[in-house]
């Protein structure tokens, strides 16, 4: 599989939380379909690919993978006089990065817009001293009001317009790698699983609505009833101004999380798989909520043993999220290796705590 190409395609596809079906879901479905035995979508738009285990045992363990395919974005709240669009955020958008941004407004047809702001000449000193609030900003699609009203409705979603930059042959910068990188990891993993004999049924879920509260993962986990759930998401990579202990390093392998959200034996299993493959991993500690699909998966139904594998990424929730392709590839391989080690006995051990 061409990881770089998928990352580029997925990054530039649109799919704001709740609106994944419009574009990204189609791409994911297409790429996943060749790698699984069955594929379906549920009421919240989650794409669920099932790769059945290689045994005839009717009680095969179920491993669920979750990488969320939604992205943060904006939504039109009002069409102002003159055709300017007011907007709100979907997911955690930092208003400070917005002025001057090019965006795409998904109206009756996609419209290119820019986020405008009052020029400095017309800004008072007091105003200039503080960052713009979202409520001060607007989108200008350059059209007369009547045309805007014809093409755009309240509730239309907006994404950043951003080409992927290949900073080096291994390092990409673009929007929405959070968490299309996680989806890429799942695809690598499914591809890799072809090389293994696997006892477990694997449910690869491209989840929806993670950015607005882990909603897709919550309901898909309920539907699947997995024994083990592994979320794949991004974590913060080293950034000037941020202390080392808050970040992992880009290009030095995936991060494996430990903490209350993570079952220790799943963590150990992932670590062991990494060691067996000689893949470097980085420690990540989350005392409580991980802020990922793993948090929702863990408490579905009677409880699920969870793990979390993360791709170190710089500038999360901006349109220049930056990551290393090698980390994605390593994460996929290591998860496949871990899955190949899961059998009924391993699952039984998960409930032994003493």
């Amino acid at each position: 599989m061409d990881i770089k190409q998928f990352l580029k395609d997925a990054s530039m596809a649109h799919g704001v939380s709740g609106f994944e079906f419009a574009d990204i879901a189609k791409i994911v479905q297409e790429r996943m379909s060749g790698l699984v035995d069955e594929i379906r979508t549920d009421a919240l738009g989650n794409i669920i690919g099932v790769r059945y285990g290689d045994t005839t045992d009717p009680l095969r363990p179920k491993v669920m993978l979750a990488g969320h395919m939604d992205e943060i974005g904006l939504m039109v709240t009002k069409i102002e006089e003159g055709g300017f669009l007011r907007f709100t955020q979907v997911g955690g958008v930092d208003p400070r990065i917005l002025p001057g941004h090019e965006v795409i407004v998904y109206g009756k047809k996609p419209l290119t817009g820019i986020i405008g702001v009052k020029p400095p000449h017309l800004t008072s000193r007091e105003e200039a001293a503080r960052a713009h609030k979202m409520s001060d900003l607007f989108i200008d699609v350059g059209m007369p009001e009547e045309m805007v009203r014809d093409l755009v409705r309240v509730g239309d979603v907006v994404t950043f317009k951003r080409q992927v930059s290949e900073l080096t042959s291994d390092v990409l910068a673009g929007k929405s790698f959070d968490d299309r990188a996680g989806v890429a990891v799942m695809l690598v993993c499914l591809e890799e699983l072809k090389r293994y004999k696997v006892a477990a049924d694997v449910y690869a879920v491209a989840t929806t609505q993670e950015e607005v509260g882990l909603r897709g993962a919550m309901v898909s986990t309920y539907g699947i009833i997995p024994d083990i759930g592994i979320a794949i998401d991004v974590c913060h990579a080293e950034t000037p101004g941020v202390p080392d202990w808050k970040t992992s390093s880009m290009g030095k392998g995936p991060a494996l999380t430990q903490g209350a959200n993570i079952h220790p034996k799943v963590y150990q299993g992932l670590e062991r798989a990494a060691k067996e493959l000689g893949i470097p991993v980085q420690p990540d500690v989350a005392p409580a909520a991980t802020g990922t699909d793993a948090w929702a998966m863990q408490v579905a139904r009677c409880g699920v043993a969870t793990g979390l594998v993360s791709i170190p990424e710089r500038y999360m929730h901006t349109s220049v999220e930056t990551l290393s392709i090698s980390d994605v590839e390593k994460a996929g391989r290591l998860i496949a290796r871990f899955i190949s080690s899961v059998d009924a006995c391993f699952v039984k051990e998960l409930k032994k705590w003493t």
Partner: protein, 330 residues
């Protein structure tokens, strides 16, 4: 309909204390449904049998915001906590009443700076001269509601608890008008919405519908220097796109838009930046349920003077009837 609005909004039912309003609604709705039951959280679940269609859950919450007594001091003043989102600026000076009919007024400790207006500085004065006298009328744990009568302004009405008794009115009127339906209708008059969508969560789990539609009030941007919001009262039913609790099922949302257009029902699209609805809980039920919201635009939400336009209410009823009679095959 005005009579029903008055009856429902003047009913008593802070979250967790919905017994009184439930009986008022039950009496109105019983003639139009086949079965009525109440679940462990006090949700009133009314079933109207269809004929081989889908399981459709219609939801409106019957609870309202209010107060609850936490302490009675030696002079007979009642300290209280809020049930749901009670804004101190609006609470001060309001009259409250308890289920047994006892009334009082919200007073405050001396406050120099309006920024210090906090519920913890407030108390309810029921005219008692001592702790003992107060204790004869109320006790710690009693819930109170704001006391306001509904006012008829012609096309528009003002009342307390329009949020969400107006939704309850919509559903009762829908059931009245729906003679026969293909779909099985589960009308849920939910409890505890104002404290976290709690009634709807368990009601939806119990019913496990194919589709859920909530009816609730939404804010507007049509008053002087209001927030930026493209919803006005008098401009029709608001078909929700998003609020803090959910992004409505896009298929269902577009289906409702199409129904409104085909039937000439005035509608507006709604994005509510803060605030949630029961549809958020319904959507997240079990393995996920397609959910949407038809909102009744309302000014001054969470005050004792919530205002709605009856033409909007009628549009919501018409849209819901049209939905119930349609195949819902989005």
């Amino acid at each position: 309909m005005k009579e029903l609005v008055k009856k429902f909004t003047e009913g008593f039912g802070p979250s967790g204390f919905e017994d009184s309003i439930r009986e008022i609604i039950r009496k109105e709705v019983e003639p139009f449904v086949d079965e009525v039951r109440v679940d462990a959280l006090g949700n009133l679940i009314c079933f109207k049998k269809g004929n081989g269609g889908k399981k459709v859950l219609l939801d409106a919450h019957m609870d309202e915001i209010g107060v609850i007594i936490t302490h009675i001091d030696e002079n007979g003043f009642l300290r209280f906590g809020s049930i749901g989102g009670v804004n101190p600026i609006i609470a001060l000076g309001q009259r409250v009443y308890f289920e047994n009919g006892v009334c009082g007024v919200i007073g405050s400790e001396r406050i120099e700076d309006p920024k210090d207006l906090k519920l913890e500085k407030f108390f309810i004065d029921i005219g008692a001269k001592s702790r003992e006298q107060a204790a004869e009328k109320v006790k710690v744990g009693d819930a109170g509601a704001f006391l306001q009568t509904a006012i008829d302004l012609g096309d528009r009405m003002i009342a307390k608890a329009m949020d969400d008794r107006i939704g309850c009115v919509v559903i009762v009127e829908v059931l009245r008008q729906l003679k026969e339906t293909k779909h099985d209708i589960y009308a849920v008059f939910a409890t505890q919405e104002e404290v976290g969508l709690r009634g709807a969560r368990v009601a939806a789990y119990g019913v496990e519908p194919d589709v859920g539609i909530a009816f609730d009030v939404t804010g507007t941007g049509d008053t002087p220097k209001a927030r930026t919001m493209d919803v006005s009262i008098g401009k029709g039913a608001a078909i929700k796109v998003k609020d803090s609790s959910l992004i409505c099922h896009p298929g269902l949302r577009e289906y409702l838009v199409k129904l409104a257009e085909e039937n000439g029902i005035p509608y507006q699209l709604e994005v509510l930046e803060s605030g949630g609805t029961n549809a958020g809980a319904i959507q997240m039920t079990k393995a996920g349920i397609p959910a949407g919201v038809i909102s009744i635009p309302s000014r001054y939400i969470h005050t004792p003077g919530e205002m709605v336009d009856l033409d909007d209410v009628k549009a919501c009823i018409d849209l819901c009837v049209a939905a119930c009679q349609s195949p819902l095959d989005f």
